[in-house]
Amino acid sequence: MSAILPPSERLWWRQPIDKVEIVWILIAFTWCLIMFFMMPYWHVFGNQNLSSETYRTTPERFAAKAQEMVDKWTVRTETDEKIPVVRPPAGADVYLIARLWAFWPILELEVGKTYRLHLTAMDYQHGFSLQPENINIQVLPGYDHVVTITPNRAGTYAIVCNEFCGIGHHKMVSRLYVK
């Protein structure tokens, strides 16, 4: 029973270490270093890095910008609630509102074009989960998070809220088109 007894030698830290432990520590440490370097490496050579560009905002300010975008670039509306479908030009600043319990408006983007997507929450915390691509970003009230996105496949995507936001959480889903 000796892990529950005091070490058998008073100067236990002077005891030599078995080879199996040293070899494993070296292997594990090397692996940890590789995992460490993967992250900066991907920032330099990879194409999928989450932007950290963030601004303080308020619901009123953000809603005004979103409304301005909707007024300029709406191409049609969808569903009984007449949710505008916005087709912004490439490179544009695009605003997506997350609120109880919907995303607004619907975006229609072009394959291979880059957009500056602004995300904020109007009330509680929400989640931006792009399906079936499975890209997931936290959306916080008071913060305008600017994510530069480049869709690489055409299709109809869904935006699902994946942060619990109250009793209507499971109905908070919207659409995004890539043409």
Partner: protein, 566 residues
């Protein structure tokens, strides 16, 4: 004062129990199991609701019970049991009297009152905010107050443990250094103090916000500090269950740490780096710089990962060395084939090690990689990960320890030994498949904490692929197997306490003995740097590494195919 202290010695194990400490260990462990029972009943209802084909509860009850399940399991079951483990390690393993039993009882009652208040707030229905209670989602003030009282009680418990270490040293109840298992418990206590302090720093203002004294709490600040509490509390579990692994290896096999130095430095790495890993919850958040995210999750977290990989080798390694010394030397694996697989203390501990390492560990590192995190953030993959770590790892390790504690601490024989033999397999394997199924569903995008993945009633619903439904079905079936294993555990422990045959043991008296250092085995023992003492374990470790590397790069490969993001 020390003259009035009463002790008894367990005839089977030679452990010496201080009367006041014994009562505290028992009551903390019993209350822990009651919370496990409550959380387990909730688990069945939640499971049968998320299993989309069954979909048992309504949305409101589902979210309410999910909030209660998270708190009752992650906070109340585990921390009550951990306080019992701390008192056991501090008092029993060091043969010392417990410092200030009255304070320890005050802590116990605070924890109990806090946990009950918190549950009352949740079950009243106005505090459905999940375990994380992210602001500005509002809960009843009683919700935060309950958590604060619970945390203060647990903090008192940690200081009673530290006080006991001081008493033991001052009264010379042991020779040399504290045993490795106590060192692990000390690690857990230090992490617990950091954790509870973080909890207080954020929950006290949040409580004041809920009663109207503070107008706003910044959501990002809340998340940053809250995770110092929310994730670090899981690090207490890691340190505690690794200590339990070493303890069970010592109890069942007489295993001796391969090297005290390596194992203790690994615990030290936990103290230094593990808490910073809580930053990985914020990888998908706005407002934090990339450098901050990368530093915290790699430089810091990987040194803690290194520590876990070391324990993952040294625990089974010490068992291998002990088994080889007994003559199980044939080939690489005779030592593990001939291990006592029908002893639930051993099988529970070994399954805990495997589930924690292979499922919990690998998925945890994947999630903690800055870019890869985007692929699973807030999907059901996350509960998949922590059911592997906290349930398959910590809870199963605590269950394994219970089988040892029932005869020695509660002085009862374990009832239904046949069922006890199977219990760790039902629970551990059920939980392993359950966790894998959740990870599979999360990889397919299924959100966590969602009542309905069909989005019924939404104007523009999304249809998840059939494979996601299949995963949720597998989750349902394997979850039920785990629930049966959990129910068996509660039946056996509660049954043994009530109806188990009493174990004959001498009564209490003022006599006590000193914990002597074992006689050094000179250079005939292991740990002298000459050989390759645990080749079988090394092969296991390489298999683990291969799985780890493969899974890690498969995720990078997938990431490279998604939309460009910068």
């Amino acid at each position: 004062m020390a003259t009035a202290e009463l002790f008894r010695t367990c005839p089977r194990t030679g452990l010496q129990y201080h009367k006041s400490a014994e009562a505290l260990i028992k009551w903390n462990a019993v209350v822990a199991v009651v919370w496990l029972l409550v959380g387990g009943l909730l688990a069945v209802l939640i499971l049968l609701t998320r299993w989309q084909a069954v979909h048992l509860l309504g949305a409101e009850s589902f979210y309410l019970l999910l909030t209660a399940h998270g708190l009752d399991m992650l906070a109340f079951w585990i921390i009550f049991f951990e306080i019992a483990v701390l008192y056991f390690c501090g008092s029993t393993l060091l043969r010392s009297r417990l410092a200030t039993p009255r304070w320890a009882w005050a802590g116990f009652w605070l924890m109990l009152v806090g946990a009950v208040l918190n549950n009352v707030a949740v079950f009243r229905g106005d505090s459905t905010v999940m375990f994380t209670s992210y602001v500005p989602l509002p809960a009843n003030p009683m919700f935060y107050l309950g958590l604060i009282l619970f945390a203060v009680g647990a903090l008192i418990g940690c200081f009673v443990f530290l006080g006991t270490l001081v008493v033991a040293r001052a009264e010379r109840t042991y020779e040399g250094s504290i045993p490795l298992v106590v060192f692990g418990a000390l690690t857990a206590a230090i992490i617990a103090i950091f954790t509870i302090a973080s909890g207080a720093i954020i929950l006290i203002p949040t409580f004041l916000w809920s009663v109207g004294y503070i107008t706003t709490i910044d959501p990002l600040m809340y998340r940053t500090i809250w995770w110092g509490f929310g994730h670090s509390s899981q690090q207490i579990n890691v340190a505690a269950h690794v200590a339990v692994w070493y303890a069970i290896a010592a109890i069942v096999f007489g295993a001796k740490p391969m090297s005290e130095r390596v194992s203790r430095v690994a615990f030290l790495l936990y103290i230094l780096f593990l808490q910073l890993a809580s930053a990985h919850h914020l990888l998908a958040d706005p407002g934090l710089s990339t450098e901050w995210k990368v530093f915290n999750t790699s430089y810091a977290m990987y040194l803690a990962v290194l520590a876990s990989m070391v324990h993952g080798l040294t625990v089974p390694g010490s068992i291998e060395v002990a088994q080889r010394a007994k003559g199980y030397t044939k080939g690489l694996f005779e030592w593990i084939r001939k291990a006592p697989w029908s002893n639930p203390s051993f099988s529970g501990m070994f399954l805990s090690l495997l589930v924690f390492g292979f499922l919990g560990g690998i998925s945890g590192v994947m999630m903690g990689t800055e870019q890869l995190n985007m692929l699973i953030h807030n999907t059901i993959y996350v509960p998949g990960h922590f059911h592997a770590t906290v349930v398959g790892g910590t809870t199963l390790a605590f269950m394994a320890l219970t089988y040892f504690l029932i005869p020695t601490l509660f002085r009862r024989e374990v009832i239904m030994p046949g069922l006890a033999k199977w219990q760790p397999y039902l629970f551990g394997l059920g939980m392993a498949v359950f966790a894998l199924a959740l990870m599979g569903a999360g990889t397919l995008g299924v959100p966590r904490r969602s009542w309905d993945i069909t989005f019924a009633g939404a104007p523009l619903p999304y249809e998840f692929p059939g494979a996601a439904w299949l995963m949720l079905g597998i989750m349902g079936v394997s979850g039920l197997v785990a629930v049966i294993g959990g129910a068996a555990y509660i039946l056996i422990t509660v049954g043994s306490l009530l109806w188990g045959k009493p174990v004959e043991a001498p009564g209490y008296g003022p006599e006590r003995s000193v914990l002597k250092m074992p006689v050094a085995t000179a250079l005939t023992g292991h740990g002298h740097g000459a050989g390759f003492a645990a080749p079988g374990t090394f092969v296991f470790a390489l298999v683990f590494l291969a799985a780890f590397v493969l899974y890690y790069f498969v995720n990078w490969k997938y990431l490279s195919t998604v939309w460009g993001l910068s």
